[in-house]
């Protein structure tokens, strides 16, 4: 276990090193900080002097060492746009993104486990077939399109006139399919409750929750089909195994066999994939937050790109790198704990 821990740690450090070199190379090659700092009228000689004083003429490695030293101490430089430390800006935007990811994860877990298990137990039932069909459609819809459709239906609202208004059934269908559309689809709302530090929460008030619903559902929609299919496939495989047959033969109630014996082993691969996917969700938050103008890290990153706010871009990359590396390492460790048969120190298959 210790050997595995050290190995994972070395791996994580290596990855962070690569990311930091890349991030620094971006910073080094993009834009000229001197130009950002001084006015038009400053002569070239003074610019050169400033450049020298800032150490911009030092060799790449010296500059990188300085960057890395500052980064480890949490100093990523100042954001050009916000005029405050880049890490501070990220810290302000982080809670919104985390709450969004949390809400989406909650939706995914609460829906995918029952649906996946049910469609594995009864693969031929119409309910299972419906969800299998829906899940492949779900995979094929990009997350921003889901978001747009949700906005159209629940925020703007739609009036259906497809069916003849004169007949009773037509009028009924029209009114049943038309939607009011009063869900908020823009930002987090103003009814936030302050928790601590930079953390204002959407989860405490009714209005805050209402603002959270559409973005969270959109974000969940991209992962939900994947998880339903994964859980179903794993569960079906587990149900074929000898120990499930044995448990059944012993006369244990089917509910207990499914939810205690089989589900345990089903969740093993789900944990691995799930952990990695939570990292992936960070990428999708960029899209979701753009559509809903959700003031989180993703929207901030896109704004930083459009404003060429290089320190902020670099800081974002480093922070996201840390999030990815930490989640992947934790997932590997959890996997090692829950599945002792896996050879931790061996080569990954």
């Amino acid at each position: 276990m210790i050997a595995f821990l050290i190995k994972r740690l070395m791996h994580a450090i290596l990855v962070m090193f690569v990311i930091s070199v890349l991030a620094f190379a971006i910073q080094d090659n993009l834009g000229d900080p001197v130009q950002q700092m001084v006015g038009q009228s400053v002569p070239e000689s003074e610019r050169a002097a400033l450049r020298d004083r800032l150490g911009l003429n030092d060799p790449f490695l010296v500059q990188y060492a300085r960057f890395a030293k500052n980064a480890v101490q949490g100093d990523f430089g100042y954001s050009y746009f916000y005029r405050e430390p880049a890490l501070e800006v990220i810290a302000r935007h982080l809670p919104a993104t985390l709450e969004l990811v949390f809400a989406a994860t909650l939706i995914i877990v609460l829906l995918s486990v029952p649906i996946g298990v049910y469609s594995a137990i009864k693969p031929r039932s119409p309910f299972s077939r419906f969800f299998m069909g829906a899940s492949i459609i779900g995979i094929s819809i990009p997350v921003f399109l889901t978001a747009i459709v949700l906005i159209q239906i629940f925020s703007i609202g739609m009036t259906v006139t497809l069916f003849p208004e004169g007949t009773a059934w037509g009028a009924w269908l029209n009114s049943a399919l038309s939607t009011q559309g009063n869900m908020p689809s823009f930002g987090r709302g103003y009814d936030l409750v302050h928790v601590m530090g930079h953390w204002d929460t959407n989860l405490a008030t009714w209005d805050g929750l209402k603002h959270l619903v559409l973005p969270a559902v959109s974000l969940a929609s991209i992962m939900l089909p994947l998880f339903i299919r994964l859980i179903r496939a794993e569960m079906m495989e587990v149900l074929q195994s000898e120990y499930v047959k044995y448990a059944r033969a012993k006369g244990i109630s089917m509910r207990r066999v499914y939810f205690v014996h089989a589900l345990k082993n089903t969740m093993l691969p789900v944990i691995t994939v799930g952990g990695v996917q939570i990292g992936t969700m960070v990428a999708y938050t960029i899209l979701t937050e753009t559509v809903f103008q959700w003031p989180g890290m993703g929207l901030m990153f896109l704004d930083a790109i459009n404003r060429a706010d290089i320190p902020l871009i670099v800081t974002y990359l480093m922070i996201v790198g840390v999030i990815f590396v930490v989640t992947n390492t934790i997932v590997d460790l959890i996997y090692g704990f829950v599945n002792p048969t896996v050879k931790l120190t061996g080569k990954p298959a």
């Binding site: 990009p142 747009i148 703007i156 496939a233 992936t280 990359l317 990815f324």
Partner: protein, 312 residues
């Protein structure tokens, strides 16, 4: 397989294969292939099919902007699917946009396959240090989502080169970005099947005959790893088209003057609050139908060729 004395032609071999047999019985696969082929033909024949040329500014009238499609009151009979905010005919622009999306999808997958197959073969066949290095690289890249890699690379390239340059070479850039972001998928699949093939007798025989490793890799091992490559290629095309749409939606893809389906959705999204939903949802629907038909084909192909490929 067939035991005829003469070697059967390729067509006969296809007709006798399990692939063709299962295709004949699967209505969904037939429908999807038909839809996909129709869309590809329509997209690449867009200059012939489209009533207007959306790239030609002289044919666009701003007074025609935001006209609804034909089933809504106020539609103009010249524009069957309505017009977008610039007054471009939506039917024409969607045709041209599908062509751009498909071009980038195919191009990116070809690049991915080229890189991934080469690296995968090398990793699997040569083993040792090469294997460790390439697979570690793939691991690192895959531990970030491919979309994240694509967004970051796109953002950095755009910031370095300036947006004017970027949008001029957008098609090429997107092919490069999506191709580079997704090669590990291929490399892993190919490596896995090379490892299974490597110790078979025909490879030993080839080696004993004194053939060079390059020849053994590409002429002997590669043909036997083709079916998984085939299967993931379909899924990867769908993914590449979605990635392209996502990048374009974020403003890191095709410019609005030369739109793909993604940039059409992005452009239309700005007008959805004013009630013109068709500008964004019609290209959206086309995108979904395209990707869905490819995904369903991929699903079918996976079941037929290798039922256990994605398991475990």
């Amino acid at each position: 397989m067939t035991t005829t004395t003469s070697t059967p032609s390729r067509w006969e071999r296809l007709r006798d294969s399990f692939l063709w047999y299962s295709f004949k019985r699967d209505r969904t696969a037939q429908l999807c292939l038909a839809v996909f082929i129709c869309m590809v033909i329509a997209a690449f024949a867009s200059p012939l099919l489209a009533p207007t040329d959306p790239y030609d500014l002289r044919q666009i009238d701003i007074l025609d902007s935001e006209l609804p499609p034909f089933w809504i009151d106020g539609a103009d009979e010249r524009y069957a699917l309505g017009t977008d905010a610039q007054g471009r005919d939506l039917w024409s622009i969607v045709l041209y946009g599908t062509r751009v999306s498909l071009l980038i999808g195919f191009g990116a997958v070809m690049l991915q396959a080229l890189l991934g197959v080469t690296f995968g073969l090398m990793a699997g066949y040569l083993g040792g240090r090469v294997d460790a290095f390439l697979m570690r690289l793939a691991d690192i890249q895959l531990s970030f989502s491919t979309l994240m890699v694509a967004i970051v690379v796109g953002a950095v390239v755009k910031a370095t080169m300036g947006s004017a340059f970027y949008s001029q070479y957008a098609v090429l850039m997107l092919i490069l970005i999506i191709g580079l972001a997704e090669w590990p998928q291929y490399a892993r699949t190919v490596r896995a099947s090379v490892l299974a093939e490597k110790n078979k007798e025909y490879v030993d025989a080839a080696r004993v005959m004194g053939l060079r490793s390059k020849r053994i890799m590409f002429r002997h091992v590669l043909p036997n790893t083709l079916s998984p490559i085939f299967v993931i290629s379909t899924v990867q095309i769908a993914n590449a088209i979605i990635s392209e749409a996502a990048l374009s939606f974020l403003g890191l893809g095709m410019p609005e003057t030369h739109p793909s389906l993604g940039s059409l959705i992005k452009a239309g999204f700005d007008y959805i609050q004013s009630g013109s939903w068709w500008i964004t949802l019609i290209p959206g629907a086309v995108l979904v139908v395209l990707v869905l038909s490819i995904n369903l084909l991929g699903d079918w192909l996976r079941d037929v060729m290798n039922p256990r490929l994605y398991k475990g």
